[in-house]
Each structure stands twice: as structure tokens, then as C-alpha cells.
Amino acid sequence: MGMTMTQKILAAHAGLDSVVPGQLIEADIDLALANDITGPVAIRELVKADMDKVFDRSKVALVMDHFTPNKDIKSAEQCKECRDFAHKHDIVHFYDVGNMGVEHALLPEKGIVASGDVVIGADSHTCTYGALGAFSTGMGSTDIAAGIATGKAWFRVPAAIKFNLTGELAPWVSGKDVILHIIGMIGVDGALYQSMEFSGPGVASLSMDDRFAICNMAIEAGAKNGIFPVDEKTVAYQKDRALHEPRVFEADDDAEYARVIDIDLSTIPPTVAAPHLPENTKPVTELAGIKIDQSVIGSCTNGRIEDMRVAAEIMRGKHVADGVRTIVIPATQEVYLQCIREGLAEIFIEAGAIMSTPTCGPCLGGHMGILAAGERAIATTNRNFVGRMGHVDSEVYLSSPAVAAASAITGVITDPATL
């Protein structure tokens, strides 16, 4: 029986010729990742189990991104635990204020993840790296602790849903709209325990930033991972970045899929997910006019340079509506610098938005833009659960950067095509 792309990567890392869905395997990992929230828990577990060791100091990444720059004393203590561990074990990929970024934007940008890798991260959005043709998935701190110490992890080999993409995206439609559209279609557990494998002639038209956004939110459909085939764009992206050689895996022609779903990219409208689940999606036109108090443009889903460019294009020469706090957060230092070099920073600030240093901050209700009771945000982030960005009685609408920027200008949820 043929294997999916994910199954082939897992088989190769488990030293097996083939694997089948449901099979429990132990595989070598190429990277174990944790952040300032999940890292301390992993470190404490390692110490408690008398396993305070690192299997390979160049295959562990610790990124201080969630509550940084340290928002309070407790957060500072947690970062210190990670910093001390990183120094003790001479961790190569330790990223702190000054060189950090939102982890899932940072690691691909730095070339730490390459095509064909197996990556486990104590952060659910670790699935982002599927855009590079890597197998990557989120786990908890104890799993990551085991990975840090041993270089291995156990997996239940997933079945897959194949998304056969055709056509090209319409203007003002991005990868974010594609994944919101798909989650709306299959639901927040529509891909539970499964891979989401994207393929078909429509893939070529999607930029790398589109693909990162799509794979990033695979977890929001319950998926184990999302993954794209490696093509010219993937190779070009990694050319001057990859710190190790990318390996290309392709799904077999006779691979079996649990489901095949055809998606014509040209039919996807700008899409928004209403509170309080990412599956509550509607075309932006059906939600247009809903008043907002805040617009957040950033996160591991949409804090990359293309996201910044499209937001700036919409905000250029305009001003945000009265009473709309507009927070732009480039996901990495490189993206931040690029925003300055391209003049995007000037556009944002002249429009009445603020630009923040890279941080996960408001996405998870940490800091840098918390909502009060009764307030409503439109955000390019990935979750709109109850209380996600602040008060339990606040609301988050999820959208693309184009919709979030257009909405900031008008003060109500807005289709960018109508500006």
C-alpha cells in the first residue's frame, strides 16, 4: 500500500520501510522546541526524573516569545529558568529578547527547520513547518522533555485527508482565508488525529507565507499536522537559509486517504471566524458592519512580511477609525526590520496604529492588547475561544491581515474590496 507524505517522513525517521495508519512507532526527531511557557514545565520534569540532559545541543530550540519582553515578575522567572537551562547545556538555538521572534515564524526564517524533518514542539502551532514539507506537530511539555533528553518521540501514524487544490486566489484573499474556509467546512475536530495533506495544481500559486498560515491552523481542525509538497518555492525559500540539507519526500501515487476534498481556490471569499470557535466561519460580506474596538495584525499565523505588506497597502495614506486600537506585531526581528526598510512602519504609525516588538502577546491574552468585558477585536491570530484575548465577556473575530487592516480603517468588520 502506498504511503502519504507524512507517513513516508515518519517511516524514514523510524528506520522502517513502510508504516500504516494506526501503527505506533518510535522515531528520531530533528528538533525539539519549547517556549517560555512550556519550557519551564519540561525542564522541571527533566530535573524531577533525574534526566537533566540534552540529546543534541543543536537540535533543541528554546524561544522566549509568549510573555516577552517579560510582562511581569513571574514571567521573568520563567524566562530565567529557560535561559539558565540553555546556558547550562549550551543550547545553540536559544532565542531571547533581541534576537527572538514568534517561534513558528522564527524557526523557518532562521533555517532551523528544513524539508523532510521531524519536529516536535511544546506549542500546538508547531504544525506550521508543514509548509516546508516537514512533519511537525505540537505536543505537551513532558513529551518535549523526553525528546530533549533522548532525541526520540512516539507517534501513532496518522491517516490523512487530502486537499486537492485547484485554481488561484482572488484579490485580497490569502492563505488565512483558505484555512478558515477549510475549518469552517470540516469543523474544529474535522481532521482529529489525521494529517491534512495539501496537493494539486493550486499549490504552485500559493506563496510560502500563505502555506505557513494554512499549516499553522491545521491544529484548529484537530489535525496532527498539515503538510505541503516541496516545490520550486520551497526550495527557493530555503536556499540561503537552511542550516542542514532539506530532504524531499513525496506521497505515493497510490497513497490511501481517509477523505479527498477538492478546493477551488478561486471560489474562496475573504473569510472571518466569529466567536467562539474557529469553525464559525462566514464570508466577510456576511459579517460586515460589526463594530470593533481593536485590530491585531501579527502572530505565528500572520506576522510575516507579506502580511505586513498587505496591511500597509490598505492603510497607506489612511487613518484608523476613532476608538480602534490597532496593534501591528511583526513576528520576527527580520520582519520588523524589513517593515522599516520598506517604509511600512511609517505607514502604520502615520495611520494611527502602533508597532510592537515581536511577541505572542495578545493572541493568547498575555499582554500588549488585552480586551475588557464587552469589547470586540478582529485579529489575524488563530483562536477565538472564550476569554482568549482577555475578559471572558470579550470577543475575537479571526481574519486575514487584509480584512483586519480594512476593519481598522472603518471601525467595523470590512471587506477590503469595498474600501
Partner: protein, 163 residues
Amino acid sequence: MTAKGTVFKYGDNVDTDVIIPARYLNIADPKELATHAMEDIDTEFVKKVQPGDIMVANKNFGCGSSREHAPRVIKDNGVACVIAASFARIFYRNAINIGLPILECAEAAEAINAGDTVSVDFATGTITDETTGQTFQALPFPEFIQGIIDNDGLLNSLKARGV
């Protein structure tokens, strides 16, 4: 091993942000963290829960963030077992890794009511609603996963194997 307690019942897609809101994830002390369990959907939970009580929910329990704090605060409040129609996969792994017993059983999740007294036999996977007299059969764990549970968590099971 068995458990018996009063049921706290929840619906579909209980996410880890409501199990333990991210605003508390800078708290290192497990006891303090546990006082915030479920507070965004059920402010009564931490006031009422007794050691041995049982949490029952519908599909996709524990979806969202990978935070291991979520099963930990449930366990640290004394909950003996979570029964759900299905679990989000990261929560499923986390619960096993930290030693929070979980059982997948759609029929039990649907039939059991809040406040019922429920007993669970982990050896057989039998769930009994003592209030209504109904019994249900949960799916057994694969042997590999049972090994992690028997060794009191992932790291101990790795040590037992000499890894």
C-alpha cells in the same frame, strides 16, 4: 484500580484556554494554578470539586493549546478521571504522560448527567452510572500506552526501558 465520584459535565470542544486560561500560565506553583481551573466556563468547579470526582464531556475535549497545565490542573483538583466522546490529540497525550486517567466513550458522554454518581473500573474500562444504573464500555488503551500509564508517566517509562 477504580474511581467513584460525582460528575461535572461539560459540552463539545472544551478548549485548554477555558480549562486553564493563558493569563495564569506564568504561575509556577501547581496549587495556585489549580485554583483557576475551568474558571472561564464554570466558576463553581473549584469550589465544589471533591477528590475522586469525575469530569464528563462531549467531543474534542482539550482542543487548542498544547499546554500541559490543562490536564495538570484537572488532576491537581483531585479529578479521578475524564470521560469524553473524543479527546483532542495533544490533550490525550498530555493526560497519559502526566498520569490523569482518561476514557473515550461516546455513549457514556451522552448519557451521564451532571451530578450523577459514576464509578469506573480502569482494568476493564467499565463505566457505571450508579444514579441511573446504566453501564458503558470504554475503548481499551493500546498496550504501548498502557505501559506508559503503568510506569506512572512517560519519563518514568523511558527510564524503566533504560532509554
